[in-house]
């Protein structure tokens, strides 16, 4: 259990260590369960979400200075998820015993050098306490009748307080993708103790430790079967470019601060598509640090057209990058031209051909194309 699912031995210097867990199947949330279940039912999307995030880490995560070294992954997929995702890896189950072992091993890895990065992603039922704390994430063996009610949970506030001290990774990112329990249950649970946590030294906290949570206390985190939770969908979209912006060197990056607004907006938007409401909150300490660098500007679909529409049959567009290089060769605008290009600064040249086609004039327009989706480009040639 303490061995990582992914371990990259070739990484030297600062490195990133991730602990990822997702709980959809709950052993004691079944008909006839003897423990205090608080009326909770198993989930459908949490394990798939954790798996998606772990895959993103291993395949696309590009931090500026601390490459990925380890990922500890614990999953309790639902039967539905197991059927849908044939490639779900055979990893330890997120029981109290396993999570405790993985947590301490992760903490040990994160305690080598302050330049390291620590990432915790936890998905499952949860009790959100405050946006600076996170809350409890209920583990697979939650509601064991022979254990205190919250014994088999992950105590995120304790983990945050425990990852302190000068040698600990000074950049820590927490993503709590919790299906927040009903308010009346939360009120009961918040007085309980005993989840899996860390010793809490009286040491200086890390310089950067944001926590992004999927649902405000008292609200329900949503997920679609086979799609992961809305939070995980939004998070991965944000990391893949939706929350990116150019840094001072022009490199497209996602920072702890740039993630705040787009993640909230995208979760809200996805929930709206399901006729529901959900919000994401950001707490903890932010430092405007880069979490992820994109290889290139995020790809954006953009539409080009001209006005008046009568001019369209005689108009041709060429898209140039900021350096004058041609990105899209001369193309007819008879119909709106749809192209996918990287975000960035461009100029579009619209020419009239034949030149005496009407009372139209060639135009050049400067454009800044940026996420989430650029507005359609309409060039006036009148």
């Amino acid at each position: 259990v303490t061995e990582p699912w992914i371990e990259r031995a070739d990484v030297s210097g600062p490195r990133t260590h991730a602990l990822v867990l997702g709980v959809s199947a709950y052993a004691h949330l079944v008909d006839g369960g003897q423990g205090e279940t608080f009326g909770l039912q198993p989930l459908r999307s949490a394990a798939a979400s954790a798996w998606a995030f772990a895959q993103w880490l291993t395949e696309r995560y590009r931090p500026p200075s601390a490459p990925l070294a380890t990922v500890r992954l614990l999953l309790a997929p639902s039967a539905e998820e197991s059927a849908q995702f044939a490639d779900l890896p055979d990893v330890p189950r997120p029981t109290r015993e396993n999570v405790e072992a993985a947590l301490f091993a992760w903490r040990r890895d994160c305690s080598v050098r302050p330049e390291d990065v620590a990432i915790l992603y936890a998905a499952g039922h949860g009790v959100m306490l405050a946006k600076d704390e996170g809350g409890f994430v209920l583990l697979e063996d939650f509601a064991d009748p022979d254990r205190p009610a919250l014994a088999n949970s992950l105590d995120v506030p304790s983990v945050r307080r425990g990852l302190a001290g000068p040698a600990v990774a000074q950049q820590q990112f927490f993503f709590i993708d919790a299906c927040a329990v009903r308010p009346e249950v939360a009120r009961t649970m918040q007085t309980l103790r005993g989840g899996v946590g860390l010793d809490e030294p009286a040491e200086a906290p890390p310089s950067v430790a944001p926590i992004y949570s999927s649902a405000a206390p008292g609200t329900l985190a949503l997920g679609a079967p086979g799609m992961g939770t809305l939070f995980s969908q939004a998070l991965i979209e944000c990391l893949d470019g939706l929350a990116s912006s150019p840094d001072r060197a022009g490199q497209w990056v996602v920072t702890d601060t740039s993630l705040v607004g787009p993640l909230r907006d995208r979760v809200m938007e996805l929930a709206g598509q399901h006729g529901e409401e959900q919000v994401a909150t950001a707490g903890g300490t932010l430092g405007h640090v880069v979490l992820h660098q994109l290889v290139a500007g995020p790809a954006l679909e953009v539409s080009f057209s001209v006005e008046p529409v009568e001019a369209a049959p005689f108009c041709f567009a060429r898209l140039n990058d900021g350096d004058g290089g041609t990105i899209v060769e001369r193309s007819s605008l008879h119909e709106p031209l749809i192209k996918t290009v990287p975000a960035g600064l461009y100029t579009v040249d619209v020419v009239i051909d034949p030149p005496d086609s009407g009372p139209y004039v060639a135009k050049q327009k400067a454009l800044f194309l940026q996420p989430p989706s650029p507005t359609p480009v309409v060039v006036s040639v009148s």
């Binding site: 009790v127 959100m128 306490l129 405050a130 946006k131 600076d132 704390e133 506030p157 307080r161 308010p183 939360a186 009120r187 918040q190 007085t191 809490e200 009286a202 200086a204 906290p205 310089s207 950067v208 405000a216 206390p217 008292g218 609200t219 150019p246 840094d247 001072r248 060197a249 022009g250 601060t257 705040v260 607004g261 909230r264 907006d265 809200m268 409401e277 919000v279 994401a280 909150t281 950001a282 707490g283 903890g284 300490t285 932010l286 430092g287 405007h288 990058d321 900021g322 350096d323 960035g344 600064l345 100029t347 400067a366 454009l367 800044f368 940026q370």
Partner: protein
């Protein structure tokens, strides 16, 4: 081979000190510009951007031509409802058809002498009484919802009321062409760095405790503790002082300020409630007054700028509802 650009950002109060960021054609940051102050650049394509007090960002490509001066206006001349976008992000949803509202002093639950205006603005009475004011909203048959109003005597805020799944909720942000209003909108839209910049730029002008508290929370969140010079005379002030002391390792001071925060009662802002709950929980979870705060935190909507939660705690008066439809 150079030309000149001069920016104007009319929608941003001058004391907020809007900063126009200028990038070259490769999007490399090359300089910052102050509105009204011309800058000289090599001819070519640039990107100019500024965060507006509405919380939105205006970014415009600018072509600098040799020997010419380009004047660029960023953002609108003046927004009709500059608070609207930030309020909508702070609390999304549709306005209910019919709902009721009442205003209470947060400390003792007594009625406030002034009502909500028809346009849902509210000006706190300047009748000599200090203290936080809470707005309670309700629809028949559902649990009422409470939010703290970000105003002190004589100040104005704009309220937004929405409904969803049969529940009614409310939020509010300060209004006016003030630094406080700009900071609040930046925070609501997630632009913490701009909020912190406004605090730093308008430090001398920021005498309003409401704006000072919002600014201090932004600075705390960004770890810029040394820039917090004063703690405001609000319940939030004790939270901010406690957080500063705790992060500096002054445990005794932190605990003293936390006790003071508990004595002062519910903070005005959600950041304050979150920080307070986070610090209190490991210390005195069984203290009755602390338990009330922790309980409130489990119900609060931390996505909002102000403290807001279902229910009418700490008061439970049953009359004095103002009807809206």
């Amino acid at each position: 081979m150079t030309g000149t650009i001069q920016f104007s950002v009319p929608a941003v109060p001058a004391e907020v000190g809007p900063v126009v960021e200028v990038r070259d054609r490769f999007l490399r940051h090359i300089t910052q510009a102050q509105p009204g102050a011309p800058i000289e650049l090599e001819a070519g394509l640039y990107l100019a951007s500024v965060v507006l007090p509405t919380g939105g960002v205006d970014q415009q490509p600018v072509e600098v031509l040799e020997g010419e001066t380009v004047e660029v206006q960023l953002g609108p001349g003046a927004a009709v409802h500059p608070y609207a976008a930030a309020l909508a992000v702070d609390l999304p949803g549709e306005r209910p058809q019919e709902w009721f509202a009442r205003l209470r002093w947060a400390d003792d639950g007594s009625p406030v002498s002034r009502e909500l205006d028809d346009d849902l603005s509210f000006t706190a009475p300047a009748d000599g009484r200090e203290g936080l004011i809470s707005l309670q909203v309700a629809v028949p048959g559902r649990v009422p919802y409470t939010c703290m109003l970000p105003v002190l005597p004589g100040q104005t805020c704009q309220v937004r009321v929405v409904s969803g799944a049969g529940e009614v909720r409310a939020t509010a942000l300060p209004t006016g062409a003030t630094v406080t209003a700009s900071i609040a909108r930046y925070v609501a839209m997630g632009h913490l760095r701009q909020a912190a910049h406004a605090v730093a730029n308008a430090r001398d002008a920021l005498t309003d405790p409401v704006g000072a508290a919002l600014g201090a929370y932004a600075l705390l969140r960004l770890g810029r503790l040394e820039e917090i010079e004063d703690v405001p005379a609000l319940p939030d002030g004790a939270v901010i002082a406690a957080e500063l002391a705790a992060r500096a390792g002054r445990t005794g001071d932190a605990e003293r300020w936390l006790r003071e925060a508990v004595r002062r009662g519910t903070p005005m802002f959600a950041d304050g409630l979150s920080l307070l709950a986070t610090r209190l929980r490991p210390l005195w979870p069984d203290d009755e007054r602390v338990a009330r705060i922790l309980d409130l935190a489990t119900r609060a909507d931390f996505a909002q700028v102000v403290v807001a939660y279902p229910g009418t705690q700490p008061v439970g008066a049953t009359d004095g509802w103002q009807r809206f439809h």
